[in-house]
């Protein structure tokens, strides 16, 4: 007696071909259940995608907004030109600061005159501008976190010639709360949809497995390897996920076009929220669907014991 241990050439290709055929047969045989599964997967992915897109756009909007609340560093009355120059140098060198604007006493006075309008005469009682000179700084966008801004402001406060540091603390903390809530929501929601899509495929594959349990039993007795038994189901799962994802990306494109060309007329704010539709979704969404469905199928098949 001899063992046929060595795998002949082309064996894996033949097994793959067999599995593809079996998967196609099953897809063709159970058109409706497969169609409904694909539809459910695509709806799940569309919701997830819409959420991610809105979230990403809102986040970048929030960051831009947060950035616009600069930090204003008021300088001491008696500060020398040299000290001012040194401070400017210091700010320019700081990597956390994106933009530095110097506002002299006179410029500040001009500003306030403009604001006061006809009441500007009250300023005439001062023979010199009553406002200190200042630096308006724009921090890099990562400074959405109020604690970090507070820390930065405290550091600046200690610098020579600095009288006071102001920043929109209240605004910043509420923006940061919104951003944090968004983040938590996306994690919770994203996980929920991930599980849902995985579960949809899981249950469909479970049904197929149950229906074909006699066949699987016979295959095991005849000596089919685990991958031989698994592959048709995995391919079917892959098909469901990929097609669901493709359908979903088309759905997203359609809704995006609809919003951009129709809704914007009535709701211009939409344009701000839906500012971008990255073309990578045509790859990422089907791929994501494939991964989730594959995972679902894999869990559904579970351990194969002989």
């Amino acid at each position: 007696m001899k063992k046929n241990k060595s795998a002949p050439k082309g064996m894996y290709i033949e097994i793959l071909r067999y599995s593809f055929k079996a998967a196609c047969k099953s897809i063709g045989h159970d058109k409706w259940i497969n169609f409904l599964t694909i539809l459910s997967v695509s709806i799940g992915l569309t919701i997830l995608c819409a959420f991610v897109l809105i979230n990403a756009n809102m986040n970048s909007a929030l960051q831009k907004w947060a950035q616009s609340f600069g930090v204003v560093v008021y300088l001491s009355e008696d500060i020398s030109r040299d000290a001012e120059g040194a401070l400017e140098e210091h700010f320019l060198k700081d990597n956390d600061i994106e933009e530095v604007n110097y506002i002299s006493k006179d410029q500040a006075a001009e500003e306030i005159k403009k604001t006061l309008g006809q009441h500007a005469v009250i300023l005439d009682v001062f023979n010199e501008s009553p406002l200190p000179s200042s630096f308006e700084l724009k921090l890099r966008s990562k400074f959405l976190d109020p604690a970090r801004v507070r820390e930065k402001a405290a550091q600046m406060q200690k610098l020579e010639g600095v009288q006071e540091v102001q920043y929109g603390e209240k605004w910043l903390s509420s923006l940061s709360t919104i951003a944090k809530t968004l983040k938590i929501c996306s994690i919770v929601f994203g996980t929920a949809i991930f599980i849902a899509v995985t579960f949809i495929t899981y249950s469909t594959i479970k049904i197929f497995l149950h229906r074909r349990r006699d066949e699987i039993e016979t295959l095991k007795l005849l000596g089919a390897s685990r991958s031989f038994i698994r592959l048709p189901f995995l391919i079917e799962g892959l098909f469901i996920g990929t097609l669901g994802g493709a359908l979903s990306s088309l759905g997203i494109l359609a809704s995006y076009s609809f919003i951009m060309y129709k809704m914007v007329e009535f709701l211009p704010a939409m344009k701000f929220i839906m500012s971008s539709l990255p073309s990578s979704i045509y790859v990422v969404v089907p791929f994501g669907g494939a991964v989730m469905s594959l995972l679902g199928s894999f869990i559904a098949i579970g351990k194969i014991r002989y």
């Binding site: 007696m1 795998a7 064996m11 033949e14 007795l221 005849l222 390897s225 031989f228 002989y306």
Partner: protein, 220 residues
């Protein structure tokens, strides 16, 4: 070679086989007989590792079956042709596809599969029924499909569990002739049966199991 050494098997504490030792030579044709419930099917199941012994060792060729890991079982089974007592034919596949399945799991290409399946169906005289579904075949025909499936991959060992179940004498004779032919090509054949007509005057070894033991061994 198949070797049982001091093999015991219980189902839920109920003993079925007790300290069975048996050597089956390569190329031998052997009958296992005994009353219903004696443990004939169980012995075959132990060989293809569908059941594990509670104690003792079983060796098939180079496989230490009683120690085989889960991932090694398929390879063992691919080298054993099994004729199941309950057939295990798939009703959603044609006769041809049922037989072809035993080759598909080997990763054989379509052309070769067609060749070997036709050859096997020819052997059991069922070529004209290849495109039918097994449930529309007679008992004897179904039995022959199972035989074709078991022999199509040219296994080193053929296990036949009650292969003449409730067939008439004529059909039983045809099937026995087929086994002799397969055995003549060097395949070790094990037939579990309670049909004395099969082994009477056959000239092959008969192992009689009763009351969990090998009660007697003789040449039929």
């Amino acid at each position: 070679m198949i070797l049982f050494s001091d093999v015991s098997k219980r189902y839920d504490k109920k003993p079925v086989l007790n300290s069975i030792s048996l050597i089956i030579k390569k190329g031998e044709l052997l009958f296992i007989t005994g009353p219903s419930g004696a443990g004939k099917t169980t012995m075959l199941k132990l060989i293809y590792c569908s059941e594990r012994p509670d104690s003792g060792h079983i060796t098939v060729s180079d496989w230490e079956v009683s120690k085989l890991g889960q991932s090694e079982i398929p390879e063992l089974r691919r080298n054993i042709g099994i004729i199941f007592q309950d057939f295990k034919l798939l009703t959603n596949r044609t006769v041809f596809d049922n037989v072809a399945l035993a080759l598909s799991i080997h990763g054989m290409n379509q052309g070769k599969i067609r060749h070997y399946v036709n050859e096997a169906l020819e052997e059991v005289k069922l070529l004209d029924k290849a495109s039918l579904y097994p449930q529309f075949l007679s008992g004897g025909e179904q039995q022959r499909v199972v035989i074709a499936r078991a022999m199509v991959s040219k296994p080193v060992v053929l296990l036949a569990d009650e292969p003449t179940g409730d067939l008439d004498v004529e059909n039983a004779k045809t099937i026995m002739e087929l086994f002799s032919k397969i055995n003549g090509k060097g395949t070790t054949v094990l037939i579990a049966t309670h049909d004395e007509n099969l082994f009477r005057n056959s000239g092959h070894r008969v192992v009689h199991i009763n009351d969990h033991y090998i009660e007697k061994e003789y040449v039929g």
